[in-house]
């Protein structure tokens, strides 16, 4: 297997890490040295030739080859069997609807939020329960990190270079969850978005940091949702008022309330679509009088339609917690769902 990448001979793994750190080829965390033997193993697992083009970023037309994806996956600490998930994420990010160039360059500082559905979640040991949005599983951690390393090295999304983020957020290191399909009676996110049941898929969204909410003092599903809606409204006023894809992560204890009341994800979407809105004049209450304009009564909804809301089951068994994950900037970047190609 012949590689196009420039090769460097270094003394050992420590020296390799120093080389990548010194050149700004990593996110600041240590890397696994991408030796040609390891990269070959990852490409063989994916059954791809090094020069195969996985996807092309539509604006700068940078072609992302399987070789570069495998290098990033090795560096990030992936196992070879994560490759089908990583490849699906890269294809989804390069969909024109996602707008990878704009979201990566924006001062807004979003990160690709990744939701994995289907049998591959359990096959590669992804976490969907305790600490669902944070550290708990090698697969969650390293699949998300691989996307950052590709944006950094292949698309030159270097902070201060093409990445003009003012603040960014910690999800830019890694931001990847699995849906807790086993702990929920609901239809998986991927199936709602058109992927056949039983197939594995990823959904990506250019997203801001999660806003955690808590309500464990009611058994009324409407009251639970009013808490989430409060977080959405706060985001609309303090960050961005524009309608787009919001993610709602619902923990187990809150889910039990909906299950007992026989509420489906669709019921939740319709309720939130109806309730999550602000008026332009409300901006004055948070110091933004300057942009209220001539029509303070104009209503802005958080969602263009109920389908804009992505409802995801995830989280540990106890605690009435959930989270809202807001979009980067309204509907300028859309959630993209891509089926994972698993080769037998």
């Amino acid at each position: 297997m012949d590689f196009a990448s420039t090769k460097y001979d270094v003394a050992d793994a420590f020296a390799a890490n120093e080389l990548y750190q010194d050149n700004g080829w990593t996110d600041g965390l240590p890397i696994v040295p991408p030796t040609d033997a390891l990269v070959r193993t990852f490409l063989e697992a994916a059954r791809m030739a090094p020069g195969a083009v996985v996807a092309a970023e539509p604006v700068r037309r940078r072609r992302i080859t399987a070789e570069k994806v495998a290098i990033a996956a090795v560096m990030a600490g992936c196992r070879p069997d994560y490759m089908p998930v990583v490849l699906a994420v890269i294809r989804a990010l390069c969909d024109t609807g996602y707008g990878l160039h704009g979201v990566s360059a924006s001062t807004g500082g979003s990160a690709p939020f990744i939701v994995v559905n289907g049998p591959i979640r359990n096959a590669i040991g992804m976490n969907a329960t305790h600490n669902a949005l944070a550290n708990a599983s090698r697969a969650n951690a390293t699949i998300g990190r691989t996307t950052r390393l590709i944006i950094l090295n292949v698309l030159h999304g270097v902070p201060g270079g093409l990445d003009r983020s003012t603040l960014g957020h910690p999800g830019k290191f890694t931001y990847c969850v699995a849906e807790d399909e086993d702990g929920s009676p609901w239809t998986p996110l991927s199936v709602e978005r058109g992927v056949p049941a039983g197939a594995s898929a990823v959904t990506v969204l250019a997203a801001m940091a999660p806003h955690q909410v808590l309500n464990e003092w009611t058994t009324d599903p409407r009251e639970i949702l009013d808490t989430y809606v409060g977080a959405i409204r706060a985001n609309m006023l303090t960050y961005s008022i524009w309608a787009g894809n919001y993610v709602m992560i619902i923990g187990r204890q809150n889910r039990d309330v909906f299950t007992a009341a026989r509420w489906s994800k669709q019921d939740i979407r319709e309720y939130v679509h109806e309730r999550a809105w602000v008026q332009r004049g409300d901006w004055a209450s948070v110091g933004k009088s300057a942009v209220v304009g001539k029509d303070p009564d104009r209503v802005h909804t958080a969602l263009r339609t109920p389908d804009d809301l992505l409802v995801v089951s995830a989280g540990g068994p106890a605690g009435g917690f959930g989270a809202i994950i807001p979009p980067w900037l309204g509907a300028k970047s859309l959630a993209i769902t891509t089926r994972i190609e698993e080769k037998p």
Partner: protein, 91 residues
């Protein structure tokens, strides 16, 4: 005993870019492509006044419908008749 590791970056773009020939401003038509950021139109108003003093006769001003996405082809075609185009990037 050493280990051999691979460069994670893409190789530089293969097509070399050359500078366009210098434009004579006197009598020229200049395209001003607004990237739809908040300060761009204001900046271009000043630029237009400045370039007029240098003899530029005509301006084609267009505003991208979306900051983060490429220029629509039809808008690019309208700008293509200009002798030179100024394109806004960033904030």
């Amino acid at each position: 005993m050493t280990i051999r590791v691979l460069d994670p970056r893409v190789d530089p773009d293969l097509e070399p870019l050359a500078l366009a020939p210098a434009v004579v401003l006197d009598g020229a038509t200049i395209g001003l492509l607004d990237n739809a950021k908040i300060g761009t139109a204001h900046f271009y108003n000043h630029l237009e006044a400045l370039l007029r003093k240098h003899g530029v006769r005509e301006f084609i001003r267009r505003r991208k419908p979306d900051t983060s996405r490429p220029v629509p082809p039809e808008m690019l075609a309208e700008l293509a008749v200009a002798d030179a185009i100024v394109s806004g990037i960033g904030d």
